[in-house]
């Protein structure tokens, strides 16, 4: 584990600053840059924050076996998103389904 607790304390504070800066960026992004891609930008920032938290606060840096487990778990979640995403985006009954955009749009304009 940590041989020097002084340095690990310092690391905690450094990561905190990083996370606070990223949080601030989260707040200014929607009105400052990439404004048409807010969802993507926000997710990108969230992933960076998550990486910092997992690697340093949760001490994953340096853990080999658990690191493999974490990646496998995330891979499986990615598979779920991918396949459901493929299903949903190639749905061919858009026009007659009562819950898709088109039908809902039609209903809400009564």
């Amino acid at each position: 584990m940590d041989t020097s607790t002084q340095s690990s304390e310092g690391l905690y504070y450094k990561i905190l600053i990083g996370l606070l800066v990223l949080t601030a960026i989260t707040f200014i992004q929607p009105s400052m840059f990439l404004t048409d891609y807010t969802v993507g930008a926000q997710m990108f920032i969230a992933v960076i924050k998550a990486w910092l938290i997992v690697m340093f606060y949760m001490h994953l840096k340096g853990e080999k076996l658990i690191g493999i487990f974490v990646l496998s778990t995330l891979a499986i979640v990615a598979v779920f998103f991918t396949i459901v995403g493929l299903d949903v985006t190639s749905f061919q009954y858009q026009d007659i389904s009562p819950i898709t955009k088109e039908a809902v749009h039609a209903v809400s304009h009564h």
Binding site: F27, T35, Q42, T73, F81
Partner: protein, 235 residues
């Protein structure tokens, strides 16, 4: 349960000695087991994020509009509170390993305080939403009523209350196990040498924070700015 046991060694045919790993006092087992438990939480919230993403693709503009109406000041404050609480919990563990039990306990109390503050602010938010007619079970979220806010916004708020609610429930559980941790420290069961419980509870708190790192932008920030192209106040 017998608290002490004898360490066992076996000699291999080539003469080398090997220690037998017993289930007692196995710190690495505790760590591995807790990470596996955290994977189950990732899968649970993952399935909810999946559902949220699906409905977002079906009702993108409505989601932006609903998100715009959330209180970013309170939500942002909570984000910073949770962030700092992750720091306090982590520092507590560092102090415990160093032998500074007094400061370690102080850090845990600080984390508990921040957690309760988070919940308090959440309660304020939900109360405000309730008074605006936006809450589970209220007529505005029932199809067919006069002021029905529409499928898109209903699904947004359905997922909003569910996910922030379950997240808040996990914060409450976190407070509970932190209080239990303090009790274990006081009774000498958790020490600078044997602190896997403290380590795991810190990991738990990091996970709770991690979930909020994704929940916050997906609900509060996607509707910030003028993303709805002017159609902020509904069709």
């Amino acid at each position: 349960m017998s608290a002490h046991f004898e360490e066992e060694y076996v000699v291999a045919p080539d003469g080398t000695e090997h220690k037998v790993q017993a289930w007692q006092n196995d710190t690495d087992a505790g760590k591995l087991g807790f990470w596996l438990f955290m994977f189950t939480e990732v899968m649970m919230f993952g399935a909810m994020f999946l559902s949220l993403t699906y409905y977002f693709t079906l009702h993108t503009q409505d989601f932006f509009a609903a998100s715009h109406g959330l209180n970013r000041v309170l939500g942002g404050t909570n984000t910073v509170i949770l962030l700092i609480s992750a720091l306090t919990m982590g520092l507590g563990l560092v102090k415990m390993k160093k032998g500074d039990i007094k400061t370690a306990k102080l850090m845990i109390w600080a984390t508990i305080f921040l957690a309760l503050l988070f919940l308090g602010i959440k309660a304020v938010e939900w109360t405000a939403e309730y008074h605006h007619g936006i809450f589970l079970g209220l007529p505005n979220l029932q199809a067919g009523t006069e002021h029905y806010i529409g499928h898109g916004q209903t699904l947004f708020f359905g997922m909003y209350f569910t996910m922030t609610g379950l997240h808040g429930f996990h914060i409450l559980i976190g407070v509970g196990i932190m209080l239990w941790l303090l009790k274990r420290i006081n009774s000498g069961k958790v020490t600078p040498e044997h602190n896997i419980l403290h380590f795991n509870i810190t990991l738990y708190w990091d996970l709770v924070h991690l979930i909020w790192v994704f929940v916050f932008p997906l609900f509060y920030m996607i509707g910030a700015g003028d993303v709805t192209g002017g159609a902020v106040h509904g069709h």
